[in-house]
Amino acid sequence: MAISEINRAGSSSEAEKNPWNSNEMMTIAAARTLRDGMICFVGIGIPSTAAILAKATHAPNLFLIYESGTVNTNPQKLPLSIGDGELANQALSVVGMPEIFNYWLQPGRIDMGFLGAAQIDRFSNINTTFIGESYENPKVRLPGAGGATEIAGACKDVIIIIKQTTRTFVPKIDFITSLGFGDGPGSRERNGLIGNGPKYVITDLGILEPEATSKELVLTALHPGVSVEQVIANTGWDLKVAKDLKESAAPTTEELERVRALVATSSRKKS
């Protein structure tokens, strides 16, 4: 995910001083949802950037767990893989994966889990398995579940981070890798899931949240410079919009500087 998107927030005065791109806004919006002291189950990419940013700013006591076994880790640079040496070196402890999945994740001990997706539907069900007609003959084979299915099931709350287009926000996903709200209210309970399900879907355009009763995603906030029409045009279903639609605060100088400093720690060469 190269940092090369057009800054969508061309009109605000903050943006003129501090132009940002949509990845940065998405990362910062995710970081802001984290409260100090939370236990977060984190993945690689924007979730890591967001969690490290939150820990460096308003939530110094965030407790970060990665599925590789690193417990309460405090990475100073962006991990490039889920089992990065930096995550182990900066951890309070490193434990085996049975302990991570059975003792930490499964009992509902995690406050917030992060998920990405290739596809999402209106009930926040997500697909990271394949795109195409059939499991056996996929058009595009994706990596699969990894930790996602049980993260979606067992964390108290879940944040999904995904770029919003009609290819990703689809009426029907090709495969349910991880359950959001299934086909609506009661679905999670019927399936035996103990967590509350997705709380926020954070995109490069705004923030969506499940409606309390229907569990259908509703657009609740726009990032600065984004229009409702733009979001609707990038959603593959008839998107509901909150009456009290908010606008995300523009990134502060501190947030932007820290995100950029973090991204700069990444030693990964671009191929």
């Binding site: 089992g83 490193v94 049975p98 084979r141 930790g147 049980e150 979606a152």
Partner: protein, 278 residues
């Protein structure tokens, strides 16, 4: 009757055509050199188990060693796809492979059940996922104490588990530290165990987050410095992220992969393994 052996001997003595193999290690301590030796010895019809196939199984699959892949996350971490896996699964090159796909929690617990000598382990997993309809070796059972439905995963007991670790002592006990993933369970679950290590030492010194694999559980040990490259060995060398990126190019086309296979595997002997040259 020392269990120390050359890598060639260790693989030859413990990996047979048709075996179920598990080369474990999660991002860290992936037994890459052992995987290359399996390719070099042209083992066939393997059922290959690993949470993250990673480069190691992309290579084994591309070389035609594997008939079935059992896994839970099949990408090139931080880079993208595993092209050889996709070419085999979707196009049957160099041969068709079947897959059995789990979640990390599920496959980890298949190892736990195997390590425990049980027919299955229980978890609250897969629920609500379409994987439930696609995946063998899972079942729903009733709790005998309340009305919960619970997921059972069948034990997996590899014919041979292979891991890489930092050190072996003179007796052949092994110490690994840092991220060990599901390696301990994969070792306990296996009928035979091969370990490659960075070095042999007189005795171990205490480390945070270390595990000890007693010699009694191990079939053979081979000292293979840099045996986890381009993954990493904490305390020895770091992950070679460039090599993971470079693999994307190598694996993308059959021609470039075949050339890599000839030059880096078949043209080299097992004792010439030096990760940094590949």
């Amino acid at each position: 009757m020392s269990k120390f052996a050359s890598l060639e001997e260790a693989i030859s003595a413990n990996v047979n055509d048709g075996d179920t193999i598990a080369l474990e290690g999660f991002t860290h301590l992936i037994p890459m050199a052992a995987g290359h030796e399996i390719i070099r010895q042209r083992k066939r019809e393997l059922t290959a188990v690993r949470l993250t196939p990673d480069l190691i199984y992309d290579q084994l699959i591309g070389a035609g060693c594997v008939k079935k892949l059992i896994f839970s996350w099949g990408g090139n971490p931080g880079v993208g796809s595993l092209h050889r896996f996709r070419d085999a699964y979707q196009n049957g090159w160099p041969r068709k492979i079947t897959i059995e796909e789990h979640t990390h929690a599920g496959l980890t617990n298949r190892y736990v059940a195997g390590a425990s000598g049980m027919p299955f382990a229980v978890l609250r997993g897969y629920f609500g996922s379409d994987l439930v309809d696609k995946t063998e070796n899972i079942a729903t059972i009733d709790s005998p104490f309340d009305d919960q439905k619970i997921l059972a995963v069948a034990a997996i007991n590899p014919d041979v588990t292979i891991i890489h670790a930092q050190q072996a002592d003179r007796q052949g006990n092994v110490m690994a530290w840092g991220i060990t993933g599901s390696s301990k369970e994969a070792v306990f679950a296996a009928k035979r165990v091969v370990v490659t290590v960075e070095e042999q030492v007189e005795s171990f010194t205490p480390k945070f987050n270390s595990i000890i694999i007693p010699e009694a559980l191990i079939s053979n040990i081979a000292v293979v410095p840099k045996g986890a490259w381009p993954s990493y060995a904490s305390g020895y060398y770091e992950r070679d992220n460039d090599a993971y990126i470079a693999w994307d190019e190598v694996a993308k086309e059959r021609e470039s992969f075949t050339k890599w296979l000839d030059q880096e595997i078949y043209a080299k002997s097992s004792d010439a393994y030096q990760g940094s040259e590949a």
